[in-house]
């Protein structure tokens, strides 16, 4: 008997509420599901081996009770939450996990995950932290090793044609996410920031083709429906991972719509394109290391030059944010970072300098990845909106 399956945004909401449900079904049908942390593990490679990539995320509504026994409390609460869920058995359905050197806490947690959770397959990709030529070569070597471990896991060689197909499949999905973001350019935007996060989190919980199909449904639905209310502020949201709608919902409950973001359940995960190269790995290396703009990667102008102009350097590092603001007509920037996120925290002073320099009003929020502690942030956001209003 056929069961009625919901579509589009309704399905997105269902998946957002219960992320692993679909991959558990696929697992029951014999598929293998591989969890990955952050946006750096090569999803195309997993897809090419017929493995289902599933992003490991935290849960800001679940108190951290187990992770504190094996991680210091003064580190990234998102990663503590991920590990906590792992220790509580919430990721037991995974057939393996892939970590990468995104930040130091991510790296240390890879060890701890391996030790405490003994996954059947566990791999760590040492992603370098610059975009220098030597770094690109190093990442390419790392991807070859990753491929080797996946060949061992699946007992088959990587099929070149399937690999290229997988790259195209992920490119197609990225292009459609970019198309969805186009719908946020009108005023009012056709889709809210809250809904966008839910869509992207659903994509990170499904095999690529299934996700793309859902995305096509969402695009069609959003184009047809009545747009949400027009608000005073159009906000660019920057910062560390947001994997729960609470913060964005709070901002959008005020007189503001988030119209564009620079976060990793956001543009960072979908705004690039893997070029077709003779060796597919070259295109992947360029996408993952050069195109993804996370502050975990060190970028500078004129490598090797003795003198650097401050604002030229800032333009090189943050110029894309000005472009986002222009293209999406943002009139304010909310910078946010969770407590103890070094890579984002260090970025904030220069980023504020840059935004002030180009005349983009901005406010910085630090939060502790906790839904119940949003009230003080609400005051800051509301005051910021009073400043720019």
């Amino acid at each position: 008997m056929a069961v009625a399956v919901s579509k589009g945004l309704a399905r997105v909401k269902e998946i957002y509420q219960d992320r692993p449900r679909r991959v558990k079904e696929l697992k029951a049908q014999g598929k293998k599901v591989i969890g990955y942390q952050c946006v750096y593990p090569t999803l195309e490679m997993l897809t090419a081996f017929d493995l289902v990539p599933y992003r490991i995320l935290g849960d800001m509504q679940e108190p951290i009770t187990k992770a504190d026994a094996c991680l210091p409390t003064v580190v990234c609460p998102f990663i503590r939450s991920c590990l906590d869920l792992g220790l509580k058995g919430r990721y037991d359905f995974l057939d393996g996990v892939v970590f990468s050197h995104v930040c130091d806490v991510g790296e240390k947690t890879a060890h701890i995950w391996r030790i405490y959770l003994s996954p059947a397959y566990c791999h760590f990709i040492d992603v370098p932290h610059t975009t220098h030529k030597a770094a690109l070569e190093q990442l390419k070597e790392q991807l070859k090793e990753f491929r080797k471990t996946l060949e061992e896991l699946t007992g088959k060689k990587l099929n070149e044609a399937k690999f290229r197909e997988a790259i195209e499949a992920h490119n197609r999905q990225r292009a459609l996410v970019q198309a969805l973001y186009e719908l946020r350019k009108p005023d009012p935007p056709l889709i809210t920031g809250t809904e966008t996060i839910q869509v992207l989190m659903a994509l990170m919980s499904l095999p690529v083709e299934e996700g793309t199909q859902l995305l096509e449904e969402v695009l069609a639905e959003v184009k047809e429906r009545k747009p949400p209310a027009k608000k005073m502020a159009r906000v660019l949201l920057w910062g560390s991972i947001i994997d729960n709608v609470a913060l964005v919902e709070m901002i959008e409950s005020l007189d503001a719509n988030i119209v564009i973001d620079d976060t990793c359940v956001g543009t960072r995960a979908y705004f690039g394109h893997v070029a077709r190269t003779d060796d597919p790995l070259d295109g992947l290396v360029d996408y993952y290391l050069v195109q993804i703009k996370c502050p975990r990667t060190f970028r500078e102008t004129n490598t090797g030059a003795l003198k650097k102009d401050y604002y030229t350097d800032l333009e090189n590092r943050f110029g894309y944010l000005k472009e986002y603001a222009e293209q999406w007509h943002a009139n304010g920037v909310i910078l946010q970072s969770m407590k103890y996120c070094d890579i984002h925290g260090y970025e904030v002073p220069s980023m504020k300098d840059y935004l002030d320099h180009v005349g983009l009003p901005n406010v910085y929020l630090e939060h502790d990845y906790n839904k119940s502690a949003l009230a003080p942030l609400r005051t800051r956001v509301q005051a910021f909106l009073e400043v720019i209003g």
Binding site: A375, P376, T379, R380, Q382, A383, E386, V387
Partner: protein
């Protein structure tokens, strides 16, 4: 603390009330409003517009609009110092720095996550030393050699005070050290805004002459204290409310308002309350 300021059409204060907040926000809003109305000798229905601000701004059942304390403070400070560029407010539970131009808020910084650098810090220390909050300022003026408090955390700073007492250090030197600790912490936060004169210092802590002097030392400039430093936010809210009404009138509009009724809206069920 919960405060009410009522201004007349010309922006003159006709009533001001300050009271302890306690747990029943909504109940208290009614009580202080009643008091303020009695003081001004006007019926509730005569209030044209009501703006609520601060942490409890969403819990004032009869408010017509909520505006954050940052914008309200900026407006309140401007009303008695039109040349103000920087305002520093240290209250019981937070500390704020504001950049202001012509009464408009331009930028701000806030600490509301940690008791250190707020009035709460002074309360804890005053209690440890057996003083009232109001005594501290005068005591610190007798200091000849202020000590340096190295702990940032309120709890550890309190322990540090106790151990300094047992070393025989003069109480006035300890209190002066405490004032310097809070002032330097707030100054460092506010300096992110690039402090420019005139600087106005408000909030309950501005009544403490010791902190005022320590803040001036830390900033390297003079700070001005209004007559009623605890009421700046409420005054700003009242003035902003008046301006909203005037602006609407200029457009030929009347702003929608809530029913002027002091209901029995309470957060918690009170036993025996009929």
């Amino acid at each position: 603390m919960t405060k009410v300021v009522i201004v007349d059409d010309a922006g003159q204060v006709v009533s001001r009330v300050i009271s302890y907040t306690g747990a029943e926000h909504r109940h208290l809003a009614n009580k202080v409003m009643e008091e303020a109305l009695a003081q001004a000798n006007v019926p509730f229905a005569d209030l044209t517009y009501i703006v609520a601000t601060g942490y409890g701004r969403l819990n004032v059942p009869f408010a017509d609009r909520q505006i954050t304390e940052l914008t309200c403070h900026a407006r309140g400070v401007f009303s008695f110092c039109p040349t103000v560029k920087t305002a520093i407010d240290i209250g019981g539970q937070d500390a704020k720095g504001m950049k202001i131009s012509n009464g408009r808020l331009l930028d701000f910084v806030m600490n509301d996550k940690c008791a250190a650098g707020t009035g709460r810090f002074l309360e804890v220390i005053a209690e440890t030393l057996g003083f009232t909050l109001d005594d501290l300022g005068e005591v610190s003026l007798k200091s000849t050699q202020k000590i340096s408090i190295s702990s940032i955390c309120t709890v550890f700073a309190q322990q540090e005070v106790v151990s300094r007492l047992s070393e025989g250090i003069a109480v006035s030197d300890i209190v002066a050290g405490i004032h310097d600790a809070i002032a330097s912490r707030v100054a460092r936060m506010v300096q992110r805004l690039k402090v420019e004169p005139e600087v106005v210092f408000t909030g309950g802590v501005a009544r403490n002459i010791g902190v005022v002097k320590a803040l001036e030392d830390n900033l390297g400039m003079k700070v001005f204290i209004p007559g009623n430093p605890s009421l700046t936010g409420a005054l700003g809210a009242a003035l902003l409310g008046k301006e909203l009404v005037h602006k609407a009138a200029a457009r030929g509009e009347i702003l929608p308002t809530k029913e002027r009724r002091l209901g029995e809206a309470t957060f918690f069920q009170t036993v025996g309350n009929q």
